[in-house]
């Protein structure tokens, strides 16, 4: 059964707000039902659809369509059973979406290679997220899901949504300053490194944060000078506590491998709810990294770039990101 029109509208506002900042685009109708293509196995006549977003893949010439199930609940009212049921159902929806003519006509571009991923989006609407939502996933055997080969299903729980929504808020805050730290959307894109075993084939085209990026601890926004200068900036959103020099040295070295430490790039690392000692720990890691390269008191260009990395824990924390209620379980 489709969610109510009102709920769907509210869900759409919420999702648009968040995913818009990560450069996802919506395609096709929201909140509708469509016929199941495998009724015998799936034991339903129709599947629901809350919204479908798409983005370009950086490491392959294709689009990813994200078939969303948007859920909302009040703190303390959710258990493993409904989460499991939602994931099992979503896996079937993803399997059918690839085969369904109806779904394809409504939600995909013509003449485009694409893949479908499922997204279960779960937040609690009373604003207090539960950190241990992930424990609901432990009892789900991935082997039991009816997902077709190479398809994936992603879960963004309350904690992840809280984190992503704060990134969105921070970017908008940086952009809205009198002297904007981040330019308009057209000059921004999410960074996907050139890898050893994969090439980023669509550096310009694939500007969205992929689901893989959004579920990882490091999300990097790159922005170019709107006036066409060679200067660029990167904002590195790092989701961990930041209480060890090891993790920061790892992060600094990763930025070096990503070729983000150079003359023309200003780098800022942002954390949320990090450890109280994260700032001094980061400084210590910078020093240790520079000393490790060539020893103490030796000046090098790379050392200067490392030194110039700014570390700024996000101080403006958005605790409630929406007071609207999404569709509830049922």
């Amino acid at each position: 059964m489709a969610e109510t029109a009102n709920t769907a509208e509210q869900a759409e506002i919420m999702a648009s707000e968040l995913f818009g900042e990560f450069f996802w685009n919506k395609l096709g109708p929201v909140n509708h039902d469509w016929p199941c293509e495998d009724q015998e196995r799936h034991k339903v006549k129709e599947h629901p659809c809350d919204a479908v977003y798409y983005y370009e893949e950086p490491y392959a010439v294709r689009q990813t369509y994200v078939h969303c199930d948007l859920k909302s609940y009040a703190k303390g009212t959710i258990g493993p059973a409904p989460v499991k049921a939602a994931i099992e159902s979503l896996a079937k929806q993803v399997a059918c979406a690839e085969k369904s003519e109806t779904w394809r006509k409504l939600h995909t571009h013509e003449n485009v290679t694409f893949s479908v991923s499922g997204l279960l989006f779960v937040y609690n609407h009373d604003g207090e997220y539960e950190a241990d939502f992930q424990k609901n996933l432990v009892h789900i055997a991935p082997e039991s899901l009816q997902l077709p080969r190479a398809s994936r299903l992603f879960v963004l729980g309350p904690k992840e949504i809280f984190w992503l929504d704060n990134i969105r808020d921070e970017i908008q805050r940086m952009r809205g300053k009198k002297n904007p730290e981040v330019p308009g959307h057209e000059h921004c894109f999410y960074f996907h490194p050139q890898l050893v075993r994969r090439a980023n084939l669509q550096v310009r085209k694939a500007k969205a944060a992929t689901l893989e990026t959004l579920t990882s601890p490091i999300i990097i926004l790159e922005h170019h000078d709107p006036k066409g200068g060679a200067q660029r900036g990167v904002a590195v959103f790092y989701s961990r506590l930041g209480d060890t020099t090891d993790e920061f040295m790892y992060l600094i070295d990763t930025l070096r491998k990503y070729e983000l430490l150079d003359d023309r790039t200003s780098v800022v690392i942002k954390t949320l709810g990090a450890s109280a000692i994260s700032s001094p720990t980061f400084q210590k890691a910078q020093l240790q990294y520079i000393e490790g390269l060539v020893g103490a008191n030796v000046s090098t260009d790379l050392g200067d770039y490392v030194n110039a990395i700014r570390y700024e824990p996000m101080s403006h924390i958005k605790t409630t990101y929406s007071n609207i209620d999404l569709g509830t379980w049922g």
């Binding site: 991935p142 039991s144 080969r149 060890t244 040295m249």
Partner: protein
């Protein structure tokens, strides 16, 4: 390549290597769990290779890589212990100065913590990175820890340390620091079988060690390693044991059977024909693992290990307390449990003193035997 950069972070290829090569522990379902921990469910139709490939291109932070390494190699192997005796009492102040000097010399590379312990003892803890080039690049850096204890006993200082080359080097450096201050050398004594030249004498060290442990009764010999004069020289290596020559394996099995039956039947091992045959063929024990029951209360069964790092030469004595089967309602529990630090220290000290006593006795016996042989020869010549 800079060693510093070599082990700092991982690229996708490193992570792929790490995942794909750890087949035994990083099974398909473990890889699925790694994905699930990120909130990602992969298709059940994807195989292990697909999963490793997919996971390796995801952005990884330090903790993610550490979690994979941890899943691949859970915990450190139970380390064996060794000891040396220094023929002098080292006061805490002197050790403190030596440790401070060592800490200053390795600053930035090793983390050194030192503090006085009970009964005029002293403890030095060193955390260091060890690099093993033979492993997958990401596993090469291995954080190690060496706990070194100084215990004053009968006018001497006993130093108890992990049986690793690094720990031995640290102890040598500390000793050198003390010697430099004193402007005098300190004699050192360890357990070495170099003075025992026949296979019979070498094996006797072990059979006597396991049967004369004070306040313990030998219950069972669990495993043995043997060597013969024919086998190649070289350091003992756990992995190499699997490749030991068939004959050695056969020798070990027979030895174990003999030692075992000796205990059960109450025969004297050295009198048995099988033992004599094996010894005559040049086989001798180089390591042993056994269980003994405490004669006091509670009558727990303790599993011990003892052996030599250089099996052939009989140097580098190392030993461990594997654990205890606790006494329970007139019998013993079925599972082995760790012993606590105090109990472990007591048991290690017991092993050390027994090994020392056995070696002293055997050396005396060997000397007597030699003199007797020489005397006999002299006699025939006359």
């Amino acid at each position: 390549m800079s060693e510093f950069l070599d082990h700092l972070s991982a690229n996708d290829n490193d992570i792929y290597d790490l995942l794909i090569s750890g087949k035994q522990r990083l099974t398909e379902s473990v890889l699925r769990e790694l994905a699930r921990d990120r909130g990602i469910f992969c298709s059940p139709e994807d195989d292990r290779d697909d999963l490793a490939d997919y996971l390796s291109v995801l952005p990884h932070g330090f903790h993610d890589v550490a979690a994979i390494v941890q899943k691949r190699e859970p915990g450190h192997r139970r380390e064996k212990t060794t000891f040396v005796r220094l023929n002098t009492v080292m006061p805490v102040e002197e050790l403190k100065a030596a440790a401070a000097e060592y800490a200053a010399a390795v600053m930035g590379k090793e983390n050194v913590v030192y503090r006085p312990a009970a009964a005029d003892g002293f403890v030095v803890n060193v955390v260091y990175d060890e690099f093993n080039r033979s492993r997958t690049r990401l596993l090469q850096r291995d954080r190690q820890e060496a706990d070194i204890e100084f215990v004053v006993q009968d006018g001497q200082t006993l130093v108890r340390l992990p049986a690793t080359d690094k720990a031995k080097k640290i102890v040598a450096a500390l000793k050198e620091n003390v010697e430099r201050r004193r402007k005098a050398t300190i004699d050192e004594e360890g357990i070495e079988l170099t003075g025992l030249t026949t296979p019979e004498q070498r094996s006797k060290f072990f059979t006597r060690l396991i049967s004369t442990l004070p306040k313990f009764r030998l219950r069972n010999v669990m495993s043995l390693k043997v060597s013969s004069h024919l086998s190649e020289d070289g350091e003992d290596d756990e992995a190499l044991d699997l490749e030991d020559q068939d004959e050695e394996e056969a020798g070990a099995e027979m030895f174990a059977a003999v030692v075992h039956s000796m205990h059960l039947s109450g025969q004297n091992l050295v009198q048995s024909q099988e033992y004599k045959d094996l010894t005559a063929r040049g086989f001798y024990i180089t390591a042993i693992s056994w269980r003994s029951e405490a004669e006091g209360n509670p009558p727990d069964i303790i599993q011990f290990d003892a052996g030599f790092q250089d099996r052939k030469r009989g140097t580098g004595f190392k030993y461990a307390i594997q654990g205890a089967f606790r006494a329970h309602k007139g019998s013993h529990r079925k599972t082995i449990v760790h012993v606590n630090d105090a109990e472990k220290t007591r048991l290690l000290a017991l092993l050390e003193s027994t090994a020392r006593q056995v070696l002293t006795d055997l050396l005396a016996e060997a000397k007597e035997a030699n003199e007797a042989v020489e005397g006999g020869l002299d006699g025939t010549e006359v």
